[in-house]
């Protein structure tokens, strides 16, 4: 037993050593026109050594560590929380309190924090959208960012060429993204899991490459800039009104101009959009279509025998998910004021998928938590930005090892028969 573990530890640390040497130990630097290979500094080698010995020791004593962790009493969450009946009563109050905090909070903190919160809300929207497709309907979609791009470009182009307002474009963006989802899904959803993943991956790339090369319309790699910001019933958030005769927000209310109004306004829109999306998904899960998704995930053949049209049911999940991404996309381009194909690369799809998997597939609370973790952690750990992907991978490995069902595993609302 000990010997087997010793070999295991040697093997693991050996692999670890080779990988770290390749990723950290050797670096390529440009010197003039030539590339120069450089080894790591002595301090870095020390750190690598410490890391490798850690891997070795943890593998060698894996059994003991697991036993130790198992012996540590787990906090009994259910005992800390109030009883079932009380919880149901407290829930609306808690939600209301949370909403109030969300609405009041931006007025007390810095502009940067509010901006980061807005970005987080965009990822929450994307995560919730993909959660419908992956978590609820069980369809692996690796090109989700395509619908995000469709939504973003819909608003950007409509605003650029036709001067349409954000509010008019928001449903249009969602609708167009849904249409793309429908058109892609129709031929593709007959495919099973892995094939579907590959086709959606390809679709994501097609959209990006199309945006990159259709220079006459989309501006190609240089993107579209100067996208109009949303307005509040026609009141703009700029220092001076763009058009003659229009009033700006601060003039209307007779207050001094401050750029943070705009940031807070965008944040509040994002909060409203997220609340809307959460409400819709909550209803969907309790509707016949939500039950059909679950049933289809469990046993497709039984569904077919009961007269359920599986293509339409999958398509509905795909379309609704895509429209959520369209929402997020339109809001994203309005917030940035500038978009380019660079924002819609595959890594974005991967991050959104990671949010869904980390959060717990199908679980709304989990996805929201994971979205917060995934956007705020990189901001907090700026000095490690070079190792961002490495940490990201490590997080995934650790999660899959100890909590494969996600941060907050899904609990489906069961329909009860009242007698």
């Amino acid at each position: 037993m000990m010997r087997k573990r010793f070999y295991n530890a040697i093997f693991a640390s050996g692999i670890g050593f080779i990988l770290t040497c390749m990723m950290v130990g050797i670096s390529l630097n440009t010197e003039g026109t030539t590339l120069k290979v450089e080894g790591a500094s002595a301090a870095q080698w020390t750190w690598i050594g410490i890391g490798i010995s850690l891997v070795f020791l943890s593998q060698l004593f894996a059994g003991q560590v697991d036993a130790f962790l198992g012996a540590v009493p787990k906090p009994q969450l259910s005992k800390l929380l109030p009883e079932e009946g009380k919880r149901a009563m407290l829930k609306p109050w808690l939600l209301a309190a949370l909403l109030v905090v969300m609405l009041v909070w931006p007025f007390m903190v810095s502009r940067g924090s509010v901006d980061l919160a807005t970005l987080t809300l965009i990822y929450i929207m994307l995560g919730l959208g993909l959660n419908i497709v992956v978590g609820l309907a069980g369809l692996l979609d690796l090109g989700f960012v395509a619908f995000y791009a469709v939504g973003a470009y819909t608003y950007a182009l409509l605003s650029q060429y036709f001067g349409m307002s954000f509010w008019a474009c928001l449903p249009l963006s969602a609708g167009l993204a849904a249409l793309f989802g429908f058109l892609l899904g129709f031929p593709v959803l007959r495919l099973r899991g892995d094939y579907l993943a590959i086709v959606t991956l390809g679709f994501g790339e097609i959209i990006r490459i199309l945006l990159n090369n259709w220079t006459s319309v989309t501006g190609g790699p240089s993107g579209i800039s100067g996208i109009a910001k949303p307005s509040l019933f026609g009141l703009e958030f700029t220092r001076r009104a763009k058009e003659e005769g229009a009033t700006t927000f601060h003039e209307f209310f007779g207050i001094d101009y401050s750029s943070s109004y705009k940031v807070i306004f965008l944040y509040l829109i994002a909060v409203i959009l997220v609340c809307f999306v959460i409400y819709v998904i909550n209803r969907l899960m309790r509707m016949p279509i939500g039950r059909a998704w679950e049933a289809l995930r469990e046993d497709e053949i039984a569904c077919r025998s009961l007269g359920l049209n599986r293509t339409m049911i999958k398509l509905s999940a795909f379309t609704i998910g895509a429209s959520t991404a369209g929402f997020a996309g339109a809001f994203f381009s309005a917030r940035q004021g500038f978009i380019s194909p660079e924002s819609f690369i595959f890594i974005e799809s991967a991050i959104i998928l990671a949010i869904v998997v980390l959060g717990g597939m199908g679980s709304q609370v989990g996805v929201i938590l994971a979205a917060i973790v995934m956007t705020i952690l990189p901001e907090l750990a700026r000095e490690f930005s070079e190792y961002r992907m490495l940490l990201f991978g490590l997080l995934m490995v650790v999660m899959m090892r100890w909590r494969p069902e996600g941060l907050v595993p899904m609990k489906r609302p069961h329909l009860e028969l009242k007698t």
């Binding site: 819709v280 209803r283 969907l284 509707m287 016949p288 279509i289 039950r291 059909a292 679950e294 049933a295 469990e298 046993d299 053949i301 039984a302 569904c303 077919r304 025998s305 009961l306 007269g307 359920l308 049209n309 599986r310 069961h414 329909l415 009860e416 028969l417 007698t419």
Partner: protein, 254 residues
């Protein structure tokens, strides 16, 4: 009286293998008809062809005066021809009542708007679906388990739930694929009574694949025998029982 199901020359080929070879079947209204035959005779393949899981290579399947061969599985089941499976196929993570509701999917208002705003029509339909589900659970003696996970039921109960789930779709013809497999003698007797009740009280027809000869001979109005994909004999239970070809196929030659 016209035929409910009229199958003529049904043939299914997989490459060079002829799994079903010119099989004819006829089921009248309110009849229990059985298909028997040795293992691997192609009985389940016949079911797969009838229910649209396979598109038959040749032959016609007329259900209620309408050609259904070549239709999609879900379309056929919506016409009122619903099947069960040899191995129980429940949505085992869902509750019993939810299983019953999923089966009624096509009878429900499924559009987004009415569901999002819980319109009166939506709520009424949900209530009706619930009532129908409760009715059939009571018929099948499963009402007390309504809020249990389907996967946690005993095997006999799962079998009954599968039939209940079919019945709630309001079929005219029920295709049961070895419903007595794995049941104890007591449960088999209950199944026997249940099938008779479905025919006599609920006025539906049943097409049955079964190996339990006591069950088959007791309840069938007509029996078809299939061996190696081809029809061997058919007739009333007594005729089939005394047919020398059937005895040969089951017991081998002397």
């Amino acid at each position: 009286m016209s035929l409910l199901l009229d199958v003529n020359g049904l043939t299914m080929r997989f490459g060079g293998l002829v799994a079903v070879d010119h099989v004819d079947l006829a089921v009248k209204h309110r009849q229990v008809v059985s298909i028997i035959g040795p293992n691997g005779a192609g009985k389940t393949t016949v079911f797969n062809c009838l229910s649209g899981f396979y598109i038959p290579t040749d032959g016609s399947v007329v259900f209620n005066g309408e050609q259904v061969a070549g239709m999609k599985d879900f379309q056929i089941s919506r016409k009122g021809l619903v099947r069960t499976f040899q191995h129980v196929r429940l949505f085992s993570k869902m509750t019993v009542i939810e299983n019953m509701l999923v089966a009624q999917h096509r009878h429900l208002k499924t559009d987004l708007i009415s569901g999002l705003f819980k319109t009166a029509a939506y709520r009424r339909q949900e209530q009706e679906a619930m009532d129908r589900a409760v009715y059939w659970l009571r018929e099948m003696d499963l009402l007390e388990f309504a809020n249990r996970e389907a996967g946690n039921l005993a095997y006999g109960q799962q079998r009954r739930l599968e039939i209940a789930r079919c019945m709630v779709t309001q079929p005219e013809l029920l295709l049961l694929d070895e419903p007595a497999a794995g049941l104890n003698p007591n449960e088999t007797k209950e199944l026997d009574e249940l099938i008779v009740r479905l025919r006599d009280e609920h006025e539906i027809s049943v097409l049955l694949i079964e190996h339990d000869m006591k069950l088959v001979m007791g309840i069938s109005d007509h029996i078809y025998v299939i061996a190696q994909g081809a029809p061997l004999a058919n007739g009333t239970p007594d005729e089939v029982k005394n047919n020398p070809d059937v005895i040969k196929a089951y017991l081998g030659e002397e």
